[in-house]
């Protein structure tokens, strides 16, 4: 870390300028230019939904629940019976918002702004870091699937309706996990990965060999370095 800080101390103005520019570019790439269909946010939401498809049936306890992607948001429609009216109702719940995933943008901007890395190394570290953050986002998405099952829904009585047989322990654990990702995780994961990347990249730099002191040449009237006891000019320095 101290090596990184030393490098940053000399270039912090450039770093901030590059960070602002990189943040602008990555945010535009994530959200997309208005009117243009090309944006990374919705593509990432589709990736999350595709990866979650095989796992969701193992988590979901309410029958007839559907999941779909709209823009960069993953929604679910849950069919629950209102305890007051005893009528089945369908609720559309916002599950995971891709546009709120600023952690990926933050990390990418920091990586692009960090000074002193060749392009190839920078891209390699960026790919590793983004993969780790995508995994964290996926874990967050899966935790929202669990959390959504006991989330307060606008029933006529205003109370929470649990799926049949939903355990209290599961509710408490999933609530804590969900809020960890929602509050602490958004900042923790990008900083953890970034500090890890810079820490590893900076300790991987081979230490420069300490230069050997130049061999001292004796002056003409100094004793000769060969140990003969004669003056240098009369011994080895004669030629």
């Amino acid at each position: 870390m101290p090596g990184f800080i030393q490098s940053l101390r000399a270039t912090w103005r450039t770093f901030l300028l590059r960070f602002a520019l990189a943040f602008l570019l990555t945010a535009v790439a994530w959200v997309g230019i208005p009117g243009s269909p090309i944006a990374l946010g919705p593509a990432f939401a589709h990736l999350m939904a595709a990866l979650g498809r095989p796992l969701i049936p193992a988590i979901e306890t309410t029958e007839d629940t559907t999941y779909w992607v709209q823009g960069a948001t993953i929604y679910t429609t849950r069919a629950l019976v209102d305890p007051a009216t005893r009528r089945p109702q369908r609720f559309k719940v916002e599950l995971w918002k891709g546009y709120s995933s600023y952690d990926l943008i933050l990390f990418a901007s920091l990586m692009l702004a960090t000074p002193g890395w060749p392009l190839r190394q920078r891209l390699r570290l960026l790919a590793i870091g983004l993969s780790l953050l995508a995994l964290a986002e996926f874990a967050f998405f899966i935790s929202t699937v669990e959390y959504a099952q006991h989330r307060s829904l606008p029933m006529s009585t205003g109370t929470v309706v649990y799926p049949p047989g939903y355990s209290r322990v599961k509710e408490v654990v999933s609530t804590w996990i969900y809020y960890f990702f929602q509050t602490m995780g958004r900042g923790l994961f990008p900083l953890l990965v970034y500090v890890g990347v810079i820490g590893i990249a900076w300790t991987s730099v081979p230490k420069q060999a300490t230069p050997r002191p130049a061999p001292s040449v004796p002056r003409r009237n100094d004793p000769c370095s060969c140990g003969s006891g004669k003056k240098y000019k009369r011994c080895c320095g004669k030629a």
Partner: protein
């Protein structure tokens, strides 16, 4: 045998980076503990702290002659209101900074001084964030969402990282 050799290979790869790996593990652990403390004390500590920020925002706005109103953690202006919740009260970012500082090797005094100074700075920066967002929603409502979700969240985390790196530079000055 193959598992053991894989573990040995992994250990050999980690060994040159053991300081940073140790730091990351400690940082993650302290962050989980900070989250547990904050989430567990939501009603007792975080909610009153958030009310304090809302009250201060309201007072500053009134001082500047803005017709602001206050209702618990909600600061309102004509046709617009902002409810200050977790992630807008800086509590978890403060927890994150504290976790990073506690995870880094330094003396107790340096850690305490670093945490106290940084938390004060983060409190002031957060007040500026809330004030700017309320005024933005009041004057340019269309820009509120982008400023709220992207710009300020990212700036705030950069401030957290900057304060922490600045503290390390003080703790271990580099020639």
């Amino acid at each position: 045998m193959s598992i053991r050799s894989s573990v040995n290979r992994l250990a050999a790869r980690i060994r040159p980076h053991q300081d940073i790996v140790r730091f990351l593990l400690r940082f993650g652990l302290f962050a989980i503990l900070a989250f547990a403390a904050l989430f567990g004390l939501q009603d007792q500590a975080v909610e009153p702290f958030t009310r304090g920020i809302a009250w201060l925002t309201y007072k500053v706005m009134r001082l500047f002659g803005t017709p602001a109103s206050l209702d618990g953690v909600t600061v309102g202006v004509p046709n617009f209101s902002v409810m200050i919740r977790n992630n807008c009260n800086a509590a978890y970012e403060m927890g994150l900074y504290t976790a990073a500082t506690l995870a880094y090797p330094a003396s107790g005094l340096r850690r305490t001084t670093g945490i106290l100074i940084a938390l004060s700075v983060l409190y002031v920066v957060n007040l500026i964030r809330v004030l700017s967002l309320v005024y933005l929603g009041y004057l340019v409502p269309g820009a509120f969402e982008a400023a709220h979700v992207y710009v300020w969240q990212v700036i705030f985390l950069v401030v957290v990282a900057g304060l922490w790196l600045g503290w390390i530079a003080r703790v271990h000055p580099v020639a």
